[in-house]
Symmetry: C2
């Protein structure tokens, strides 16, 4: 599981930071990529990475502001042109369907793969055997959602040494025991797999928040997350401006991470008013409140390791 | 009058060539910029030039394929964000209004300048004291237009030396004579300005063609143009492929320029199947038919001089 930041700026593209997009690379987990937001020229950013558009399985849109969606029609078309044939699902606020459908229809873009568009509300929007994804509305004027991606816990490892020492030879039953099932041996012994499993490995939790003022739902979504990606459009001393524009400051992002007892915070969606030489100061403002803060930048790639017991 | 190519590739963006956009810089003529097509990331390309989005006065869309329009909503929004306040007019085929209006509405992009959208048909779509613009439908499956931009002829220069030698002193009447008017002097002489003007300076003609197969309307639009910008998606030996995809080859573009008796041809909209090392060959194919051929590339800037007498 890796994160690859594709666009970390706010509002309009600038040379040092493109508008919003973030890839959650699940290549080991499911050989696919999940994208969060798709600002203009996201597909151009992807040209400079190892990402294959045909591997993009899901695109989650936090909100409908242009800097988060204007790259969507182009990426959808190019994914088809470049041989993408597997289904793609877009999740986003009400309106995303009309935007995508009108853009594809007017441009006569004919996709060679099935496209699903799901307009979301608060709650669980996706669940399979690996992941559960939950969304809650934030506070951004326009409907803006945060996403909590929860990997399911994994069964502990089977203690093969102990099974061997108790005279239970390897074979198909090991697989059943590994799944925590109960097995009756030929000699009549009844073995419960659960007694031979190490502790469960807790799944990872990633929280990607759309543009927002500080709000309670953000804390809920970020609760005990391994990684929180939070906008920090403004510096710590710009509370009023942040409030007026429905955004957050570096310090507000840090307080969110602290209150949520998260592990790592990435500051994202940085206004182009801050030049490169100010970036360090912005990070320090947040670190003073939440030490494990990092600043996102375009093409930053980071691995989120599985938990160990 | 300058041309600045912003995107010269076909279909999908690639590292060496972005999707379509071309700026006609009329800074001396009217302190404004006219844009032809606006593929995704046109505003990103502009960041690497001296162009100011607020100076963009008109945007002409040749056709509604994604690689020609997906940069439009973002550019419109950024022009507003960056302080553009003067009116902007978009010309394009039927459908351009719905695309722009839906994109701006869904993204809640509120422009701080007046936006006009004119859905075009064959004929004169604009005329003022400087320019006339005419469009004709080409042959691209989807409605695709070519634009002929005609600068109006300018009056010749006033022969002040001759006026002086005939005892007519400089003054307000020179202005009238320069406009070709007839003036009665205090001594009773009647002077017709036309007799003191050099030959008219012919206006320049630029022809920007949308994607197309070879067709008669393209020749009409390009007739005796100073500069023709023509797509050359495929190489000279790919007639059948060009025909199937409603595009042109290098040789077809060259024959158009020859038949139209144009002065200079720019090959544009080059497929990314041709690598940098093939570009020279593509140009040579066209030059064999029309010697004054040049290949467009991203950020190529060229001056179109006024005619001399
Ligand atoms: Zn934003
Ligand atoms: Zn095209």
């Amino acid at each position: 599981m890796k994160l690859l930041f594709l666009g970390t700026g706010a509002g309009v593209p600038a040379k040092p930071r493109n508008v919003s997009s973030l890839a959650l690379m699940l290549l080991e987990e499911r050989n696919s990529i999940w994208l969060f937001d798709c600002g203009e020229a996201t597909q151009h950013q992807i040209l400079h990475t190892s990402l294959k558009p045909r591997k993009i399985e899901k695109i989650f849109i936090t909100h409908l502001h242009g800097d988060h969606i204007f790259g969507l029609p182009g990426l959808l078309g190019s994914r088809s042109f470049q041989g993408g044939e597997t289904e793609l699902t877009i999740y986003g606020p009400k309106g995303i369907r009309e935007y995508v459908e009108v853009s594809l229809r007017i441009s006569q873009t004919h996709l060679k793969y099935p496209l699903s568009i799901i307009e979301i509300e608060n709650g669980v929007i996706f669940e399979d055997e690996q992941f559960t994804i939950e969304t809650l509305l934030l506070d951004h004027g326009i409907a803006s959602y945060g996403y909590r991606i929860m990997e399911k816990d994994k069964k502990g490892t089977l203690d093969a040494d102990r099974l061997l020492s108790e005279g239970i030879p390897p074979g198909p039953i090991y697989k059943l025991l590994k799944m925590g099932e109960t097995v009756t041996l030929e000699d009549g012994r009844v073995i419960n797999g659960i007694n031979y499993l190490g502790p469960e490995i807790k799944g990872r939790v990633i929280c990607v928040l759309g543009d927002t003022r500080p709000c309670e739902n953000a804390v809920t979504l970020a609760s005990c997350a391994d990684v929180v990606i939070h906008e920090a459009t403004f510096s710590a001393d710009s509370d009023e401006m942040a409030r007026n524009y429905f955004h957050s400051t570096t310090a507000q992002a840090a307080r969110l991470a602290l209150n949520a007892q998260a592990d790592t915070l990435y500051l994202n969606h940085i206004s182009s008013r801050y030049l490169k030489e100010n970036w360090n100061q912005l990070t320090e403002e947040a670190k003073a409140i939440f030490p494990n803060t990092k600043m996102a930048y375009d093409f930053l790639e980071t691995t989120i390791d599985t938990h160990k017991n």
